[in-house]
Symmetry: none
Subunit: 397 residues, 2 copies
């Protein structure tokens, strides 16, 4: 891709409806997308290439990290985004190449040093923020800067910034009450891992001292150590000046990992499209992330998920009027209301450009299953978009 990519004036839009893929509640019924009254998506489909994209592997339900890495063209099995990294991105932290991030739970130690509550009685968010402030003021580690940022209730994220760190570390959280917290151990032999383990253990030791009178939140458990995955940027790979429009910090963070510029999004779904219009002349690639369909799927609310799809559909004519040269509409994974969770199912994929082989008159899982792209790895989406936008040179003589 790096060798074939060329800079042109053409513009690409990757419109992601999070958790778009769905299932019929009954075998003969429609999926959420098929049930939605989405005439604009159908009209796009009638001039588009269709297919079903597979995020990671057969039967595997992806998290948001691998789901988006695949959409952005990175191999989700090669590039791993640790939970600590997702947490850091989720609170809007600008993660650097040398940063080591971990999730933090405030927890309760009993007088024998055993964990009696892994969530410290679910302390309120205000209390969590107050404890985080105490940690930030008092923790002092040799050779690294430390940032602790509250998430919600008993959850926070810790970032160590410095040279020579490693995320080859096992969790301190034993995942069960009645046990002592584990010391953080390196999982490989590199000196960076040993040093990072020592730093993490020193962090816990100091936190225990700082929190000793804060029962029930008198300790912290660390897990999901992760570092910046060091992705080559969109500019490096595709020679694209890419921008992201997303309303949730985690997706903004994932876009930042790929080197995209974050645009200040407007309010709600319509607001995101308004942001797209306002910035249309300033970039040649736009990632637009719409969260609500996934949340409705997670809630098992088939009708609400369909309604959100319809709300996005209403924005399509305005988007189409901008004249994108290649426009893909898909999801990062399926979130069928029937399963109330992310799933492994194929995700409906539509690519509209002047150079398509339309095979159906509507956008839905079943029409996509019969499309000209077949079932394909989501990792290939960027190749298709670059090809349809005429941004790839011929390969070989």
């Amino acid at each position: 891709m790096r060798e074939l990519s060329v800079k042109t004036d053409s513009k690409i839009v990757l419109l992601i409806l999070d958790g778009l893929g769905g299932l019929p509640m009954d075998p003969s019924g429609p999926t959420e997308l098929e049930a939605a009254d989405a005439p604009n998506f159908d009209s796009l489909a009638a001039r588009a290439d269709l297919g079903l994209s597979r995020p990671v592997a057969a039967g595997v339900s992806p998290g948001s990290g691998p789901g988006h890495l695949a959409l952005f063209g990175y191999n989700p099995l090669r590039y791993v985004v640790g939970r600590g990294v997702l947490s850091a991105l989720g609170v809007g932290f600008e993660l650097g190449e040398n940063d080591l991030a971990a999730r933090l739970n405030f927890a309760t130690l009993d007088k024998n040093g055993r964990i009696s509550d892994r969530r410290a009685g679910r302390i309120p968010s205000e209390k969590g923020a107050e404890l985080v402030e105490m940690l930030n003021e008092n923790i002092d580690l040799d050779g690294v800067e430390v940032y602790v940022i509250p998430e919600k209730e008993y959850r926070a994220v810790a970032i160590f910034r410095g040279e020579g760190l490693s995320d080859a570390l096992a969790d301190s959280d034993p995942q069960r009450v009645g046990l002592e917290p584990l010391p953080v151990k390196p999982t490989d032999d590199a000196p960076e891992a040993k040093r990072s383990a020592a730093l993490a253990n020193a962090f816990v030791e100091q936190a225990n001292e700082i929190l000793k009178d804060q029962h029930p939140a008198n300790t912290v458990l660390m897990r999901g150590f992760g570092m910046h995955p060091g992705l080559p940027s969109f500019e490096e790979i595709y020679d694209l000046d890419a921008a992201a429009i997303a309303s949730y910090p985690m997706y903004k963070g994932l876009a930042r990992l790929a080197g995209m510029e974050l645009l200040q999004e407007g309010e709600g779904i319509a607001g995101e499209f308004e942001t797209l219009r306002e910035n249309w002349d300033r970039h040649d690639f736009f990632f637009v992330h719409i969260k609500p369909p996934d949340a409705a799927g997670e809630d098992g609310d088939f009708a609400r998920k369909a309604a959100f799809i319809e709300e996005v559909d209403a924005q399509v004519p305005g988007l189409f009027d901008l004249g994108p040269d290649a426009l893909a509409v898909t999801g990062d994974h399926a979130t069928p209301a029937k399963l109330k969770s992310h799933s492994w199912h194929g995700v409906p994929f539509l690519l509209s450009s002047p150079y398509t082989l339309p095979t159906a008159e509507s956008f839905g899982e079943r029409t996509c299953a019969g499309g000209s792209l077949g079932v394909f790895p989501a990792e290939e989406i960027m190749g298709f978009l670059m090809g349809h936008a005429l941004k790839l040179n011929r390969y070989g003589a």
Copy 2:
């Protein structure tokens, strides 16, 4: 494949319509193949496995080299055929394993040694041939034989034959006028690359001396250095005695790279099929290459491309009467008239044998999209053909 292949009496035909894949001019219209009145292809399709083959990778438009390597079962990303190699094949040169080939442009140097015309005023082919003769007579390089062969106008190809050569060389052509030609530099540290660079620079130096009074063609630029890709032959991999029928030197050359015997083709499309009939008893694999559909696609001539498809269709009954055990009809890539160039789109693929799962009554991109083979890498075609010809042993107990 090597382990599973067995020698049998069955016969395979791989019929390639160059650039077969197409697109509708309007979203609701037919492709070139769908528009063609091709009752014999349709009748074949009704007893065939159908699918869409992908030459290289998502969104990537292949050149003729990688397109054919894939058809012949070689990984087109692993085996690279440089432009110099294709040029050598294109002029019918029998490239050996030790040969280093490069494209040559006659060009104009001004009195300051800068390039004023990269094409030497597009000298006529007769003049180019005359200058090539001067080079062949006078150039003398230490330890290698040199062959210079005219292509057309200002273009020629140079081949160095000798031990210990390498194609890890950068072009001497700076691709812009007003600059001095670049010395040829090795792109890796191997002694073979250094020696080859020195030979190339000596070649240019001698050529400059020989051509100094031949303004405007008073120098040569070298680019696209390439060596024989060293493919294992069809006999080694498949135990096939393969023959090629093609009307263009480049495709004959690609077939030679795979170890196929070249058959002297008759005149035009009908002549190629006549050659097939005449040689039917002498080989068990036939690669038949039909060039015109690609040329019509490159010209953007939808109707002419469809007409060439019809002309090939008329030959199908005669071909079928020969009784091939497995017959594939496909292209090396798509060349949609709409794009006037090679493209990345799926290529219609049909495989007729007694052991198929027919899914449609016509041969077209859309029926192939719904076929039993789905969308698959072109590299797999040889496997399908070997299987359908019952030339592969069972794998494993």
